[in-house]
């Protein structure tokens, strides 16, 4: 226990964020294990506890007798102030130990706008911020998650990145750590770790620049691999999955059971990083899911179970699984929800079957306003699909729908923006014509700005200029004036910073540290985001952010993340980019035809689907 913690807990908002003690936590004897890991989530408790990956890795590590994992989240600004005033170090929830007492601090990087929180947490833990300043007595700082696929902006601060799914590689790292504990220096350990597939140690690579632009990256030692390929958990149906996850006592964002029914999505939306980096698509068997659901309901006491995946209605036997789960869970009065619905009538049928109330509303993501642009981004949705889906939803009793769009997409023109307005109106009119009362009918139009992400077909594309995004927002706001149309938008200034780091390189480390030292925290939270401080940080560090966000790369350029391999080959991304520009769609490989992304051959794997579906063998590997 750390003195003074209880005192400050009585002075901050939501103290339950910092105390632990939830149902199903694991608290081990520190003397009985060989390696101690702190799982660090660089956002609030409510966000972090809603992340399934935390529960999975917590389970994987704590299943080992020789290891323990505890949790720590970013303290909210009021808590940070109290901690700094009283010199209370960042501490873990389970045993309230300083994070600096652990052997390994493991961050997950879900969103670029949490990067300043990573630095802040290292500082609150009392660690030297930069990897070079750390010695054998400091914990090892590791990081994984989607943003680790472009690790360079954080490479000054993180000793080692884990690329891809962590279930197996984390265990291999812990084995190595235990093996070399007390026998090898930090430097030696890092070299040995770099030989584990999926592990990237940035300090073992030298980066070359030309005129301030990224030019090359080379390993410093012969034994260090030139490129790091992501890890994929094999045999997904049998993958480690916690059937007794932690149940928070305070309300979190996704406050329900999360049952992962599938991983990966092969729809191939060209803006979507998740769709590229989580390939291949793998499903759990219905038998596994029903058995896991039963245990989860009994062990957590939650009254709701959410079937999670990137696209739940794409799961091969979804109807069968939903029916079995309804049978299984009815007696327990446990309800089922589907967070990610495809835009079609089938999905509405499914939602109708499981959702007892219509209060929650339904969300559809047409993403773009015209067919031309939807084809460009490979969002295989037609206006007819959308209108069929919304008709089914209105007919089933929903009156509030949400439509999700992006602006600033490559090749976007003014008629695509008008398309957003027309489509939204058409959806509203559909509801009204079907008898939804004008007082209750509501269509929320949520618009975010496109951010080009690494490892996607749009990775070469610039982000649209902020002035343009602001003017488009203004146009939309002016056009969507009907009382029943509610317009929501994201701050383009936040998307701009996100774009800088999403395709950033190692030179941004100084900017990040400067922004943190100027006071940037929780940049993804509108109440905390401070654009002025960010601009100042860029200025003071001599970095032109536009040269990152607005840069158009050519196919020949070496990209700052090219040494990180997702298994999807670059030629496929180039081909997809070209098809985007010419407006050609590429079908989902689920439908039976391999689209030649190269992943199955590269990673010696294949999609795992149920219900007898097979995907034609790859003919077209480039």
């Amino acid at each position: 226990m750390i003195p003074g913690v209880n005192f400050i807990l009585n002075r901050v908002q939501k103290p339950a964020r910092y105390v632990g003690g939830e149902w199903n936590i694991v608290r081990k004897n520190w003397e009985s294990v060989s390696v101690k890991v702190a799982f660090a989530f660089p956002d609030t408790y409510e966000v972090g506890m809603s992340y399934l990956g935390l529960q999975i890795l917590y389970y994987v590590v704590n299943c080992r007798r020789d290891a323990l994992m505890e949790r720590v989240f970013a303290p909210w600004t009021d808590m940070e102030k109290e901690m700094r005033e009283r010199r209370i170090p960042l501490f873990s929830l389970e045993s309230q130990k300083p994070v600096s007492d652990f052997d390994i601090i493991a961050f997950t990087l879900q969103y670029e706008m949490t990067f300043t929180n990573v630095i802040n947490m290292l500082d609150l833990a009392g660690l030297p911020l930069r990897t070079g300043g750390r010695t054998d007595k400091h914990p090892l700082v590791i990081a994984g998650g989607p943003c680790a696929f472009n690790p360079e902006p954080l490479s000054d601060f993180v000793d080692l990145f884990v690329i891809g799914e962590g279930e197996e590689v984390l265990s291999e790292l812990l084995d190595l750590w235990i093996d070399l504990k007390g026998k090898a220096s930090r430097e030696r350990f890092l070299v040995e770790a770099s030989k584990i597939p999926g592990v990237y140690v940035p300090s073992l690579y030298e980066v070359g620049y030309k005129d301030g632009k990224f030019q090359s990256i080379k390993p410093l030692l012969e034994e260090v691999p030139e490129a790091v390929t992501k890890r994929v958990a094999s045999n997904f149906d049998k993958v480690s999955f916690p059937d007794s996850p932690i149940v928070p006592t305070t309300e979190i964002i996704h406050d329900r059971i999360m049952l992962e029914i599938a991983r990966g999505c092969t729809r191939g939306c060209r803006f979507c990083q998740a769709g590229m980096i989580y390939r291949p698509v793998r499903e759990k068997s219905p038998v596994t899911l029903v058995s896991q659901a039963r245990k989860l309901a009994a062990n957590t006491g939650y009254g709701e179970i959410s079937l999670t995946s990137l696209s739940a209605s794409d799961y091969s036997c979804i109807t069968e699984v939903v029916r079995q789960l309804l049978d299984e869970l009815q007696a327990k009065k446990t309800s089922i929800s589907l967070p990610s619905l495809r835009v079609d009538a089938f999905s509405i049928e499914l939602a109708k079957e499981i959702q007892r109330t219509r209060r929650a509303g339904l969300t559809f993501a047409p993403e773009a306003g015209t067919q031309r642009l939807r084809d460009t981004i490979n969002k295989g949705v037609t206006e007819e699909d959308l209108l069929t889906a919304v008709s089914a939803a209105f007919a089933a009793g929903w009156s509030a729908l949400k439509l999700y769009f992006m602006i600033g997409l490559p090749t976007e023109k003014m008629d695509d923006i008008e398309g957003i307005v027309l489509l939204s109106r058409r959806v509203l009119e559909k509801g009204l014509s079907m008898g939804v009362s004008p007082g209750r009918a509501k269509v929320t139009v949520s618009v975010s700005s496109f951010v080009p992400k690494s490892h996607t077909p749009f990775q070469w594309e610039p982000q649209a200029a902020q002035d343009y995004l602001f003017s488009v927002q203004k146009t939309l706001k002016k056009s969507l004036k009907e009382k029943s149309l509610v317009f929501h938008w994201h701050d383009p200034r936040v998307s701009f910073i996100e774009a800088v780091f999403a395709r950033g390189d190692r030179q941004l480390g100084v900017t990040l540290e400067k922004a943190w030292s100027l006071g940037c925290r929780f940049d993804g939270w509108s109440e905390c985001f401070n654009d002025h401080l960010w601009q100042k940080a860029f200025e003071l560090t001599g970095i032109n952010p536009e040269s990152y966000a607005y840069r158009r790369y050519s196919y020949e350029d070496l990209l700052p993340w090219d040494h990180i391999h997702t298994g999807v080959c670059k030629n496929y991304l180039i081909r997809e980019h070209k098809r985007a520009i010419s407006g050609e769609v590429t079908p989902d490989c689920r439908a039976g035809n391999c689209s030649g992304c190269g992943l199955c051959a590269e990673l010696v794997t294949e999609p795992e689907l149920y219900g007898g579906k097979r995907i034609a063998k790859i003919q077209d590997v480039v």
Binding site: A16, W23, A297, Y302
Partner: protein
């Protein structure tokens, strides 16, 4: 049932405690009665909400069951699925015609422990308490909804105040009005008491525990 709330569970807000017991009841797998409607939930009620950060030594909760279960069985099934800091002390069958717990509660007793900057004699403390209680009114500012602040006279709701002192540790016992017609909070009384007597406290934890809730 009678339970205590301490440790990390002190920081569970009342609203979150409702959620927590909802899940406890599901985990305990007892024949709980559920409400009708689209979102069925188990039916239970607390005697009196407890403020975040305050411990509870004797807290009451009643749960409606579909059929009778021996209290010993309930003690085991509920007692084994509580999160850390919630501890089951007793379970018994309430008469079918018993009124809502909430409507019975009139006052609560609290034990408050603070560390003073300066030492204080026992006699001195008595004088301070007397002088504090002799005031015709004790007006505190209380935050109400939407960030507004209201002046409230808490003096009528302070039924008793006593205490003792050991070195510079001050322990106060308070009997305060609690229930559906309004409550006085122990923190308000403490702050008003310290302010009235110009006593300074050390910046360490103030420990407040509700030792019981009582009918008239």
């Amino acid at each position: 049932m009678l339970y205590s709330k301490d440790g990390p569970a002190r920081f569970i807000s009342h609203l979150d405690l409702v959620r927590t017991f909802e899940r406890v009841i599901r985990r305990a797998d007892i024949p709980a009665a559920f409400s009708m409607g689209f979102n069925p939930h188990s039916i239970f009620s607390f005697a009196a909400p407890l403020q975040v950060g305050i411990g509870g030594e004797s807290e009451y909760l009643d749960i409606l069951l579909k059929n009778e279960v021996p209290p010993e069985e309930l003690y085991t099934s509920i007692g084994s699925v509580l999160p850390e800091g919630l501890c089951l002390k007793e379970v018994w069958r309430a008469p079918d015609d018993s009124p809502a717990l909430m409507s019975l509660v009139e006052w609560a007793e609290y034990k408050v422990k603070v560390e003073l900057e300066k030492q204080l004699s026992a006699g001195g403390l008595e004088g301070y308490i007397d002088s504090f209680l002799k005031q015709p009114g004790i007006v505190v500012r209380r935050k109400v909804k939407k960030g507004r602040v209201k002046n409230v006279d808490i003096r009528p709701g302070i039924y008793d105040l006593g205490g003792f002192i050991k070195d510079n540790i001050l322990i106060l016992r308070m009997k305060l009005k609690t229930g559906s017609s309004g409550s006085v909070r122990p923190g308000e009384v403490l702050d008003a008491f310290l302010e009235h007597n110009s006593l300074a406290v050390k910046p360490v934890e103030t420990d407040i525990v509700r030792t019981g809730v009582f009918p008239v």
